[in-house]
């Protein structure tokens, strides 16, 4: 046994509006959609139902009627498991934590094959109402929330600080959204695929200054199933797979802001988590062919790509504007279209990152294919990148 873990298969629902309302005659039901994805993902992996020993679910949104979703699904799929069957919650990091827990099941020898899966239905709830809940997740409910901080207001303050410190322009930040849309146009599961120019981005109504509508993530529904397996199992299928070469997690012990003033836009947790992942993989940023980063807003992509050493500090916006982070550029970032254009069904968003890695490694990314995609990086976070989980993956053909 090598003790290596592989991503061997995956399937995902196109990101968009799937949630219906009680007034509709029929509605999409979360478990029906997810059950089909499980079968598609297992077919993609070349494995049988009986191979699965563990299922790690992302917690559904409170709008999902079915509670105890994981155990409900175990019954719906008639799937007894020796390994863990459970649901995970960790804000925006939820799907990455589900993935890591599934990987851990394999590493610990509790399962040869584990699923990381989930469904996020929320689009039928208005943003004003949804924010009544999300504002309590990204701040101290007694000492932040009364002032009206929203989840993305923290990122907006990152942007204001970044422009102030590095003299980057609003246009340079907005170019990240243009680049991501250009990628999403080639991604059949992306939510927003119409061509978009820098002028289009700049012309949108403001949401949180300086970020406008197209620089922040829309809201969406989605569902994903990822199959992870012991590398011996993966190799025996004869299929190509993604070998996990390095992983790093770090929580800075702060919630949105550190009460001791620090360099907020250095994204120290991403840097620490990235250093751990690089060290475990025995690699540096130069070895990364593409990165699928969790970045709800344009500025977040800039800051996390700087913290992971993919671009130079203070240069992330300019490099995006110069095409360095586009497919065909020096270091393609968010080839899926990212959270602004591929879409952001929050509690499953990061699971879409592993789908993108597999698509790139299996050379099935079409017009957004990175030439010679051999090593990919993913990141996930919560808060204002107060915690980060970074993976480095390698294609094994």
């Amino acid at each position: 046994m090598t003790n290596n873990v592989a991503i061997l298969g995956g399937a995902a629902l196109p990101v968009g509006k799937w949630q219906g309302s009680s007034e509709d005659e029929t509605q999409h039901l979360e478990h029906e959609l997810l059950a089909k994805l499980v079968m598609d993902a297992m077919e993609d992996a070349g494995l049988e139902k009986s191979d699965i020993s563990s299922m790690i679910f992302t917690l559904p949104r409170p709008y999902t009627q079915q509670k105890y979703f994981a155990t409900f699904m175990a019954n719906y799929l008639n799937l007894p498991c020796d390994g863990l069957v459970m649901e995970v919650l960790g804000n925006g990091m939820t799907p990455a934590l589900a993935f890591q827990t599934a990987v851990d099941q394999v590493t610990l020898g509790r399962a040869k094959v584990a699923l990381a899966l989930g469904v996020n239905f929320e689009s039928a709830t208005s943003s004003y109402d949804h924010m009544m809940s999300s504002m309590r997740a990204t701040g101290d409910v007694d000492f932040h929330t009364p002032f009206g901080f929203t989840p993305i207001s923290w990122y907006a303050m990152d942007a204001v600080r970044y422009i102030h410190e590095f003299g980057s322009s609003r246009e340079e930040l907005a170019s990240v959204a243009v680049k991501n849309r250009a990628h999403a146009m080639h991604n059949p599961i992306a939510q927003y695929r119409k061509p978009m120019t820098l002028d289009d981005v700049m012309a949108q109504r403001p949401i949180v200054d300086p970020l406008g509508l197209f620089e922040v993530p829309g809201r969406a529904d989605g569902a994903v199933c990822i199959v992870v397996a012991d590398e011996d199992v993966a190799r025996a299928t004869g299929k190509s797979y993604a070998r996990i070469r390095g992983a790093g997690f770090y929580h800075e012990g702060a919630h949105q802001i550190n009460e001791v003033p620090n360099d907020m836009i250095a994204f120290g947790s991403a840097r620490r988590a990235g250093e751990k992942a690089y060290a475990q993989a025995g690699m540096t940023a130069k070895d990364i062919d593409f990165a699928e980063l969790y970045a709800p807003c344009t500025i977040v992509e800039v800051l996390v790509s700087e913290a992971l050493d993919l671009v130079a500090r203070g240069e992330g916006g300019r490099m995006a504007a110069a095409g360095e982070t586009s497919v065909g550029g020096r270091i393609p970032i968010c080839t899926s279209g990212g959270l602004q254009s591929r879409g952001h069904p929050a509690y499953v968003t990061a699971l879409y990152s592993y789908i993108e890695v597999l698509d790139q490694f299996r050379n099935r990314a079409g017009g957004r294919q990175v030439e010679g995609a051999g090593v990919g990086m993913t990141s996930a976070e919560l808060g204002n990148y107060n915690a980060a989980l970074v993976h480095i993956l390698e294609a094994v053909q």
Partner: protein
């Protein structure tokens, strides 16, 4: 050392809760006093005020009045907000580094620039108080 008051229309959109411990902070605002806790053991300040010290995990802290002077670290204007804040849109929030080396997040009034001095003020609503930087 008391802070200036600013009269605000109506009630707070999302009133904070208070505990037997934090009630001293919120009642202090009514008197124009902006205060937090200092650890007796390691002598570090913490904000929000806490009955424990997050730095050295001592359980002994004492109240201390803050100057209300600081520097604006960042800010934004919120144009799309949660349902209870709809009437207040758009509004300004920001991050302030107090002179006592504490970072707080708060409402921001006026057009202060980043890295320039700001002062804390007490916002007087019909149902109680909040605070802001200007």
């Amino acid at each position: 050392m008391t802070l200036p008051f600013v009269e605000m229309p109506g009630k707070r959109s999302y009133p904070p809760r208070q505990s037997d411990f934090t009630i001293k902070f919120w009642q202090g605002l009514a008197d124009g006093v902006f205060q937090t806790t200092r650890c007796v053991k390691c002598e570090k300040l913490s904000f929000p005020p806490k009955p424990i010290c997050p730095h050295c995990w001592s359980k002994e802290t004492v109240w201390e009045t803050l100057s209300g002077k600081g520097t604006l670290y960042s800010k934004t204007t919120v144009h799309a907000g949660p349902a209870v804040f709809k009437e207040e849109l758009p509004y300004q929030v920001g991050i302030v580094d107090l002179d006592e080396n504490i970072r707080i997040a708060t409402r921001v009034l006026g057009d202060a620039k980043l890295d320039t001095p700001v002062e804390m003020v007490i916002l007087k609503y019909e149902d109680g108080d909040l605070y802001a930087a200007r």
